[in-house]
Amino acid sequence: MQADRWIYRHAAIVRVTHWINLLCLTILLMSGLQIFNAHPALYLGEQSSFDRPVLSMTAELQGNGFAGVTTILAQPLITTGVLGVSKLHGKDVERAFPSWATVPSGQDLATARRWHFFFAWFFVLNALVYLGYSLASGHIRRDLLPSFSGLRRIGSSLVDHIRLRFPQGDEARHYNVLQQLTYLIVIFFLLPVIVLAGLAMSPGLDALFHWLPDLFGGRQGARTVHFIAAFAIVLFVLVHVAMVILSGVFNNIRSMITGHYNLGEGD
């Protein structure tokens, strides 16, 4: 019999900020969808060209009832039941995102804004704690920056992921190169972009930084980027959760709660 080998994988600060981040992003997403519902259309540039949205969600009379219509770049799609028209207490109602996906569940822009801005502050402070720790402790440099040899293995790592073959034993001591690059993109690109695009929608901050909306082609462009970035984060979370499940769900979740990861039996 050989004993299991354990490593201490995640520092306490990383574990705590990870779960706080999950809470913040969930509330930010759901209250954000409620805020979007108040004017369910997106535009490019500084102002709203009401007749030319790049995306809109509407309810249109069709036959005996209403159909939910989502229009992306002038291409209409019927999305009845989820987008545009969905059930609330058993009745069809006109709303962009359905009640189960929004905070608050009923139509309520005022309360959604309170949730959103509270958790926006919480999210940013939590992110600063994570970043401060990770930069000072060397977590980013040691664990997330890919090595040159790692970068050369991108191709084979991709093939391994597609075949659902995940690193075992000693190879699982470290993040693989695809994991490293994904985390770096989320931490240093996607999340900063969504924060900046959010700040660019503030008329107060725009008075301080006149260039801020220009980063996104204008305030309405910033609103569109904020929306797209939110769904890019949703996509990341879906893939992240799938990978957690496929590469050993209990071992992974345990390591993000207790810090300890089981490498399996060794010599």
């Binding site: 108040a38 009401f50 905070v103 608050p104 139509q107 309520d108 309170r114 929608m201 008075a207 301080l208």
Partner: protein, 285 residues
Amino acid sequence: MTVKRLDRRRFLVGATVGFGGLAAACDRIAESSTGSSVLNAAESITYRAQRMLLGANRLARELSDSDITPDFKSNGTGNPSDKEYQLLAGGNFARWRLRVDGLVDKALDLSLSDLRALPPRTQITRHDCVEGWSCIGKWTGTPLSEVLARAGVRAQAKFAVFHCADTMEGGDDDAPDDPAATEQAASDKVKAKVRTTLDNRRIRYYESIDLIDALHPQTILAYEMNGRPLPIPHGAPLRLRVERQLGYKMAKYLMRIELVDSFAGIGDGNGGYWEDRGYQWYAGI
């Protein structure tokens, strides 16, 4: 295939139940008094942070004539059905007067020509609605600081409150229907109706800003929009412009400016019509 479809259905049901449960939990937190006061803490953090960063005189960006939105959206009241207002509008606002009172040394009653005689300011700025859309307009008017300098603001004054002509709830005439009303506006109106049945008092639109914004160079009482007299859907004869905040702060159909040291006794005491319905008083975000 059956297996796959079942899994997808199970996933969708799971997501619905999971998120729906969280949404319901959030509803209960926001409805409790502790929950809502914790959430409201974010507003004062935002206010302090922006005041510290922005200072008193940092200007909102001004744009050029070519940026002006051809179909600037009118939101909220589109044409007040109040009899007093309709009489004033019928007379082309010749008999309209702006009352300035409260904590001032000298109360004023200003006609449109009195206001036009003061040094004007013109600015082309972006208007951001709390609902999410933006339009760009050119505004000409009297800086509020010019008016307040003539009235003499007393030391104990902290806020300027703007009282408007348009009735939102109660009263004889029903609140006017806005053709551009959104789903949000409709739902706010339903909530308003429920309140009206509880106490049938007449509630007119009102707003308030602190003295930092009141004395800001771009805070003007606009009587012109895009080079023409302010149209009724946009607040004729006079509307407020507060360029570093959202649209609902920029009260239309102004009748009276009152200088106060607190909001107690005005509306429900939160500093504005929408603030009394849960929206933030500080709308710089």
